[in-house]
């Protein structure tokens, strides 16, 4: 079987909810929960997913822990340098093949780099998501998200605080959702997320 046929037969369009990323644009996410957010997006985007992870990072996505259906579609690029990383991201965005390109640049994105990525995304009509360090984003990004896992109050809940902190074509907003890491489905806890719940003692 050629690798690409692992793509679902009939790609479902992403549901029109506040977390839908505008296609053919580059977006940014920061915070401790940015990878969870990226995988959440990966589950929502049909087609091959390309995750560009600096080669020296110890972290790897764990196949058995990925959202359903993402594993076979996921491709990892492990460039050895930041230059290669940006070049790969640009190449990937310019190609029409990927459904989503996730990249983890380690340095602040220069304005030029941001623009180039944005142009590439438009050229390839591919959506990109840059997982950036706090405050190292680029002005060219379409949206920027701040994502943090939240301590859960009850059992069996996996709350995430997702804040839209920059939006070129709309308003910013905060959400608190329960996303268990298994499917693309999520459960909205409240419109405005309450922070810093009182901690419970361990059982």
């Amino acid at each position: 079987m050629p690798p690409e046929t692992a793509r679902p037969a009939s790609p479902r369009p992403a549901p029109a909810d506040p977390f839908t990323l505008r296609p053919a644009r580059v977006h940014e996410a920061e915070g401790r929960g940015k990878r969870a957010f990226a995988l959440f997006q990966a589950a929502r985007h049909p087609g091959p997913v390309i995750w560009i992870l600096p080669g020296h990072l110890p972290e790897l996505p764990m196949l058995r822990g990925l959202p359903e259906g993402v594993g076979p579609r996921l491709h990892l690029l492990r460039p050895g340098s930041e230059v290669d990383l940006l070049w790969s991201a640009e190449e990937a965005l310019r190609s029409p093949a990927p459904g989503l390109v996730i990249a983890e640049p380690e340095k602040e994105l220069s304005l030029t780099a941001g623009r180039r990525l944005q142009l590439a995304a438009e050229g390839g009509r591919t959506t990109g998501l840059m997982l950036i360090r706090e405050g190292q984003g680029s002005n060219a990004a379409e949206t920027r998200w701040r994502c943090d896992p939240q301590a859960a109050q009850g059992r069996d809940s996996t709350p995430q605080a997702w804040q839209l902190i920059k939006n070129k074509s709309g308003t910013c907003q905060d959400w608190c959702v329960n996303w268990n890491g298994a499917t693309a489905a999520f459960h909205m806890v409240s419109e405005a997320c309450e922070r810093h719940k009182p901690a419970q003692a361990a059982p």
Binding site: P3, L63, L77, A97, A151
Partner: protein, 440 residues
Amino acid sequence: MALADARAICPELASRPADLVQEAAALNALRRWAGRYAPMVARDGSDGLIADITGVPHLFGGEDALREDLHARLDRAGLAAQSGIAESRGAAHALARHGGGILPEGALAKGLAHLPVTALRIDDGTAQALVRMGLRRIGDLAGQPRAPLARRFGPGLVLRLDQALGLQPEPVSPEGEPPHFGVRMSLPEPIGLQDDVMAALTRLLERLSAKLAAQRRGARRLRLELQRVDRETATVEIGLARPMRDPGRIAALFARGVDEIEAGFGIEALRLVAHVTEAMAPEQIGGPQGGPSPEDALADLFSRIGNRLGFDRVLRLLPAHSSIPERSFLVAPAAYSTAQGAPPRQGPERPLVLFPPEPALTHGMTRPGQPPASFRWRRMAFTTLRATGPERIAPEWWFDDPNWRTGLRDYWRVETAQGPRLWLFHTPQAPGWQVQGEFA
């Protein structure tokens, strides 16, 4: 004889598994080389060559000289060989395998008489049956009436006998060359501009692509050799994420490499070889709307990235069967693997991200059998809010994994008051807590 028996008799016996494919390839190479002795050379079984040297020997100064020349050359190449020259193919075959030599014309029957019947290219059963009758040598058979022989041993024996004795003709038929995917071009005027080189390359690619298409193959690796006027050769090699023979798409991948070539005083010849090829079905050139299909587009992307980063940096995740977390999946080059359905998400929960264990500093007392109430990890303080576990995983005892020398691990999913949900484990034999993953 079984190998183990042979070893019992001769413990020093060195043995290797037979590599039939390699052997056949080597024999084939030898066959092409043997073309110097005869126009018609064919393989003879899996360990021999047969050549029709009719009319050739005088070129070498006679049959003896030809045979000597052959052995001398083979000797120099470090090959041990046996050879025989005779009037019939069967006789030459028999002779070569039983001492070798040359049978002068008209001496077939006499020359073969002392050889065992097995030299006749007959099956084991027939040979055994003949020996049981006392018919051991070809000479014993040659004098027998043919009809009773045929009645008892089938027409095959008589045919083989007559072929060896030259009473039945048996021609040597040549074999076709295996396809070779290389094209070359000499230029009337040296060229130096990148566009010129690319134009020449495109023409070469078109020819190569036609060759590949005729054999239903696709290139996996290509090498472009550029011969400069100063006799220096520059080489550009590219890999492809999957077999391909579309000239346009391949040319695009060469662009970067060609760009880096020093043309010097100019390039006067080009040679393009697809040295690694794979079978490729004839359909699928181009996508539905004229542009490349999504599969091709992804392959192109990976070829481009692979040629710059290296194909070992373009990866995918494959499931593996192990309960050891870090061995429960493989990270494999995407160009050399196919995607596999992910394992069903059953059993205990697994984190989204896994990394080599990092110590969690617990500073002080921890309750036995329970995760620490607070700990520091990556220079941050965490307070345990809730923990589920333990999931006990013992090392794979038959496999010495240095990471698992500390013995079994008790894995816990720890929800911290700070938000992150972490995968911690405890090793009772070397007490300590480690963080190895992070959940959504």
